[in-house]
Amino acid sequence: MFETLSDRLTSVFSSLRGKGRLSEEDINATAREIRLALLEADVALPVVREFISRIKERARGEEVSKALNPAQQVIRIVNEELVEVLGGETRQIRFAKTPPTVIMLAGLQGAGKTTLAGKLARWLAADRNTPLLVAADLQRPNAVTQLQVVGERAGTPVFAPEPGNGVGDPVEVARASVEHARRNNHNVVIIDTAGRLGVDSEMMRQAADIRDAVQPDEILFVVDAMIGQDAVNTAQAFLDGVGYDAVALTKLDGDARGGAALSIRHITGRPIMFASTGEKLEDFDLFHPDRMASRILDMGDVLTLIEQAQRTFDEAEVEKMASTMASDEDFTLDDFLQQMSMVRKLGPIGNLLGMMPGMGQMREQIDNIDDKDLDRIQAIIQSMTPAERANPKMINGSRRLRIANGSGTQVSDVNGLVTRFFEAQKMMRKMKNGGMPGMPGMPGMGGGANRKKAKAQTKKARKGKQRSGNPMKARQQEAERAAERQRRQEEGGQQQMPQLPPGLGGGGQPTLPPGFGGPKMPDLSNFRLPKDK
């Protein structure tokens, strides 16, 4: 049920190759699939309707590109529209001409206002501002204390004259805070208000009173990325009740697709300014419309993956990884173990898979992946002798039994791992020898001196491969990979997993993950490493 849009569209278009133009029927056939995909991503229904009609209009009469298949073409259109809607207007915080600049946060309960206040303060302070946090949430028990702790962590003073827990008037607090900021030379005031519901007219009036009392320069609507269809009602209610200038999206570190971003932008026209991606105060950034678009479409998030990798690995580790890959020696279980533990630092394996484009068709399996299984694999490998790890061919029956006993697994598990490893080794060898199209051998990686240069070449080669201008080539190469994967899974599936869902276990031409090859790959050329600057 969780197919990705690209998978769906590929099946819709399988019979439609080679037409000169996208016809009306083609467009209608895709419209329903796009609708489903957007709804699954929690985009609000009215927004979906309008969005689809826009897509239809734009797709109508569009030349069928020679480079893209119709499905890809439609997705490109959808993606571009999404980016346009989401990012149409990005802007910075408007600072008041005469300080202090007042920023007011509003939103539902539990959207993350208090945490965001701290993040915003820290972010502003990094830009040589002197923010002041104001505890105007006097409703929730100990919200004031929470803000004080957050303020302490962010290194920002907190203005909290009232103890909270239902005592005190938030309007007065807000009014006094501006005065306090002026006296103490704070150039930004961040007012954290209580969470409230859009239907709660009393609380909305209170928010409006705070607004009138302090005349904020920016009102930020804080909203949870997990919100569903209700986003429209809530966003509208807050717009009518308090009004806001921009939106901050929180909890983006989860796996919600965040269709609410599109809904809110579309309904209210307010830009999404900030994205909050974690529990730590530094997990806060400006909003990237392009990434959000691919997230909503579930096209994988290679950019995030890369960034995560960069944050996690240091260069030496990466070089080591790369040289293992490129060396003439065979890929051994030791290498695998090492790389697996490195990759696991990036986070749960299911998340990583989810970030890869085109993995949607395996989503069911991905959802079921448990990192404990990886622990088991690790245990199996660690129960092998160094000689066995270097040369798994020597693992015979009695060794297998010993390994299984040593790792607390069954012999069949060991068998499975070894078999699969040989497959992988073969694949690696192929990659190294340039057996895979679009991936020419990696020359001269041995010496340390020319490593950099060689790497540059590899980089070019790989880039060419990933965004191959020739979709045939890209697809063919992907076909090989998919076939490889398919075979591996079939082997596992037929022997031991009869309950594997159809399409993976029992034959049938696998649909290619279309997100993998070709132009739908996020454009890596726009991505710059910090050190390349």
Partner: protein, 394 residues
Amino acid sequence: MDITLLVAIIIAVVLLAAGGFFLVRTQSSVKPGKDEERPETPGGSAGATAVQDRERDPGTVTGPPAQAPPPVEEAVRPAEPELETPPPSAGRMVRLRARLARSQSSFGQGLLNLLSSDSLDEDAWEEIEDTLITADIGVTSAAQIVERLRTRVKVLGTRGPDEVRALLREELLAQITTDTDRTVRTEPHGDRPAVIMVVGVNGTGKTTTTGKLARVLVGDGRSVVLGAADTFRAAASEQLQTWGSRVGAPVVRREEGADPASVAFDAVSRGVEDGADTVIIDTAGRLHTKTGLMDELGKVKRVVEKRAQVDEVLLVLDATTGQNGLRQARVFGEVVNVTGIALTKLDGTAKGGIIVQVQRELGVPVKLVGLGEGPDDLAPFDPEVFVDAILSQD
């Protein structure tokens, strides 16, 4: 740093590792962990404190304890540590009815208008489906409900709006009805207290639900110990402390950053020593995608089980949550074997339709609903009332 190469390596390794999963997984799925399937203790379910049962049968409501004054609805929530005696749980359902009627009338209204039209054409059916989708019921579920409704209307030749409405009610009810018991198991067994864990993602209202639940129990004359195992979020334990001191329930807490499992263990130990009836453990909010934090949650449960059996794991779901709610429920279910769901913030415009999917796919029943910020806005979930409220005409 050669990023593309790096990514390629990661992909290769991950694929290999994920491939490994399929084989090893079979193994593990054959032998489910013993702790995963915890049978209900007969004693627990027989004498369960069914908030719901009490509701349905007001006659069995035990009066407040002798030492406490009769239940009073307090107008103001005082900050001073004066003990309050919350009203017993009876009568809460009436409020749920009223609230639901308010928050969901537009939903019910829309459906009714559709169903009341004489001819049910293609557009009308699609609109019914759309209305269901708007309630976050999910595309697949909505399509199925409509499909089955259509078939039945065709078979029965039903045309009248009342009949169609009755069918839709049945259909919705069928979607959220489970055989599972909807009572919250809070009855102590023997000398050990009942242990309830409250889990969920950030900002769904775990601490608030914990506090409200404690009030319900205290109102019914139970002794409750609260465990502030949320040692991560700033001032979370103070928040719980505030709830606890209002009703006079002791709160076991530790400094920020302490090991949540040890806090939970201490809370249960305290409950055992004090001879409390129920121990409620409030855990830190965690996104289900963070393996480390989910492991921590598993640990909290395992450690608690060394001292006493965990009777109830309540997953707190926010009614505004969209399709992601299903994933949350699934992952939390895998880690701590969720036994019930508390649906919060149902007093807003959100419909909470995601629970339809959660119940259908995972079979975990909704046990409690949170209806607002008031300290007594927690009620047992009743599917009939829920659906009736959705379809109510006022």
